[in-house]
């Protein structure tokens, strides 16, 4: 079973993502902010992370940076999920090393498809 970590401070967004990925047979982990996310990543090493950017304390960029600076964690796939959808934001996200950048609000089917594609790609 693939492990997915959902990082977002919006409970209702988390709720919907949790439901859909459980249904798709993922092992779902949840973090409400960056700090919590890093803790979970260290303990479980998920296959893929859905990462919000604008969060209190440690934000999405910082989490990604943390992952990319670690040998064991840098291979984890990361999808940014953010309401920031200016071209410059997207470019910055990809430059930092995210595998995908999906703007909010997103179509949930499409998100699931992207996650699966990314995991199948070697």
């Amino acid at each position: 079973m693939k492990k997915i970590l959902i990082v977002d401070d919006e409970p209702n967004i988390v709720m919907s993502l949790e439901y859909i990925f459980k249904k798709e047979n993922f092992l779902v982990y949840i973090a409400r902010d960056g700090e919590e996310a890093i803790e979970i990543v260290e303990n479980t090493i998920p296959d893929i992370i859905l990462l919000d950017i604008m969060m209190p304390n440690v934000d999405g960029y910082q989490v990604l940076n943390y992952l990319k600076n670690s040998e064991t964690l840098s291979k984890i796939k990361v999808i940014f999920l953010s309401a920031k959808n200016k071209l410059s934001d997207i470019e910055l996200g990809l430059q930092l090393g995210a595998d995908k950048y999906i703007s909010k609000p997103f179509a949930i089917k499409n998100l699931v498809k992207e996650v699966k594609e990314l995991l199948n790609k070697k």
Binding site: N12, I13, M15, L17, I20, R32, N57, K109
Partner: protein, 876 residues
Amino acid sequence: MSSFLVILIILVYLAVIFYVAYWAEKNSKSRWVNNPYIYTLSLAVYCTAWTYYGSVGLAATSGLKFLTIYLGPIIIIPTWVILMRKIIRISKGNKISTLADFISLRYGNDRFLGALVTLICIFAIVPYISLQLKAISETFNVITNHHITAVSILDDTTFYIAILLAIFAAFFGTQHTDASERHKGIITAIALESVIKLVFFLVIGIYVTFYLFNGPADIYNKASVLPNFEAQQTIDGLNGGFNWFLLSLLSMIAIMLLPRQFQVTVIENEREKYLKKVIWLFPLYLLLFNVFVIFIAWGGNIIFQNQQVDADLFTLLLPLQNNNEFLALLVFLGGFSAAISMVVISSLALATMLSNNLIIPYGFLRRFSKSESAENTESIKNIRRISIFLLIIIAYFFYKSFTLDRPLVSIGLISFVVIAQLAPAFFGGLFWRRGSSKGAKYGIFTGFVITGYTLLIPLIIDSQSIVTSFVDEGLFGIHILKPYELFGLQIFEPVTHAFFWSLLFNAFIYSLVSVSKLGSYRERNFAEMFVDSTKYASLQEGAYVWKGEAYVRDIKNVLTRFLGERRTERALNLFYMKYDIDKKTQVADARLVNFSEKLLTGSIGSASARILIASVVKEEEISLTEVLNILDETQKAKESNKELKERDKQKDEFLDTVAHELKTPITSIRALSEILLADDDIDNDTKNKFLTSIVSESERVSRLINNILDLEKLATGKEKLDLNENSIKDTILKSIDPFRQLAVNKGIKINLSEINDATVVYDEDRIQQVIVNLLSNAFKFSNEKNGLVKISTYINQNKVEITVEDNGKGIENDELVSIFNKFYQSKNQTLIKPIGSGLGLAISRQIIESHNGKIWAENNIPQGARLTFTLPLNRN
């Protein structure tokens, strides 16, 4: 040398110059054509044949005095970065194409003044052009060893050269109908000639100094034993000093006001920043040109001692004397270059003046305003072409029929003095608001009459050998009216004497008339714009003050007649785009009137443009105060535009945040709905949970929208406060009611013991909104066990303070201020997302501030947050 060979060389040389001009016109965008060096070199049209031969002549007979002609420019040119920039800016902004245009526009588009300036210029410059032709003809005779002057015009080489120059100037000078356009072909050719004349002059200087003699020391030693040497090389006491001073001043004026200088410096200027190169490069050019003058003069004095030789021709005779024909030919070509560049630029500048300020406004306007555009542009060009031919031919006949046997320098200086009569009107107009067109006209006229009396008439008497006692005894034998010693003034030489008196009276009359009579509103309007050009330059069309009635259709008709359908359409479209005006507008405003005048100015001169536009426009008079007010308002509008842009930026950022905040709940709503839609076997509990979330997120969206609208209304002052006298205690109690149940549920105590009452004027709904907001934060953040919320009032002389406290963990010190910012959410809210929109405190602050109160946050010791706002008490 045989005349055939020299003529052949002249033709080849002219062909090269024509080709360069042609090439530059074709490649007018090239870097070789557009650079500060070409511009600087073209200014060297100042150095004419007079510089080439006359300087040496003057140096040979009167020592160092020739330097004054170059000292003036060298002194004034460094100020050009400011002074000339101002002139160039005004000229470009108003599409000015000549000196006459400049002066006439400054004094309210005065047609007569423009014509007067034109006449003065023609009077001063045509003899000067003759002089160049004379120089060509004389040096041609010297180099070909001809001693007889041609009797018939058709045998005279100079005549053909003059015609060729006229063709050159007419062809390259009228490529555009708009005379304020740059003539790149001519300018590039002039720049090339400036290089040629300098290099050849340096060659002959080095030849004389180092080949004929053994360097400067040798020449000095030999020359110093000649008679009169000492006297020549000094300034000659105080009187001489005055003469030096005035001559330098005269040349200072000349470098700016000679029509050819105005043409190359102002009209042909491509970029203002070229001036930065000019201020050191051009004085350097003048310096180089003058290095060898004194040595050639001394050398000539030594070698031609006791011979009757014209000192003006030393430069040419020295190599000939030593049988160096090749060098003599170089000198001839250098002098020829100097002469023809002067003839071409002067005739071009004068012809534009003649057509735009004299012929068109006085003769052709009515005809033009009736005929078609293609005919008109052709006629305008033809008038200019004919003017060029006319001027050069008149100059030629002037040279043929008058014995111009005065030294080259003196005729040059006379023309300087005549031109200098424009100085008070020109410089006064630039720096003095009160300078009026009447003052300018009377001043110029007076100055010209005095120049005539003290210089021109005696000179004509002298040169034509008329027998009269006028010069020696004065008019009617009155001694104080002696033309060379007016009012008994004896310290000056004739030229400086005439310059002194004419300029003194000119400036005096100009000031006196200007001060005693106020000009028309129109000229005061232009005066304001010329004098304060830096302030109004950026306003462009907007700076024009005009009141009246005009229709776009009429103005368009006039424009089409002169510019043609296509150019008019294009120009107007650009104009509409620039000012964001609807193309269907029927009534023309001040900007369009001004814009059209400028468009026409380039083609037919400012005076004619004004008359034409005025013919389709009904203008009303406005007072000076109105003029100034409008100008200031336009200026202010421009500044506030900048502020608006800044505010726009802030608004953009705000909108970005709003968009972001709106997307978050929409993301939840969409995701949850999509699941509900696609998933049929979802259990009922989950379904209910999802639907509840969708409802609450929808509420969040509408709350957010309401808050944003609220904030905007308050911030822009769109919503008026409903101000009434209220009891503050009542308001607080009303606000707390909805929280009572919540308090019981969460086990939070409410402390209301310190509420005192006062009657205060405020909008009750709004203040209630603030209190509710503060209370809901307090309830949200108060301690989970033993929660406590306290609300209290404190009343003093001037204000009521309302404080809401809780016993939660308080606010981080660095957030005490920022929590009042829009969309600010505390770092402490990690785990539980607040229900609020992030706008509550921002709205509260806005409400309190519009009541002229204050709101701030503090921390309670040992724990809890404390938020306070004040309302002013008005106890009258």
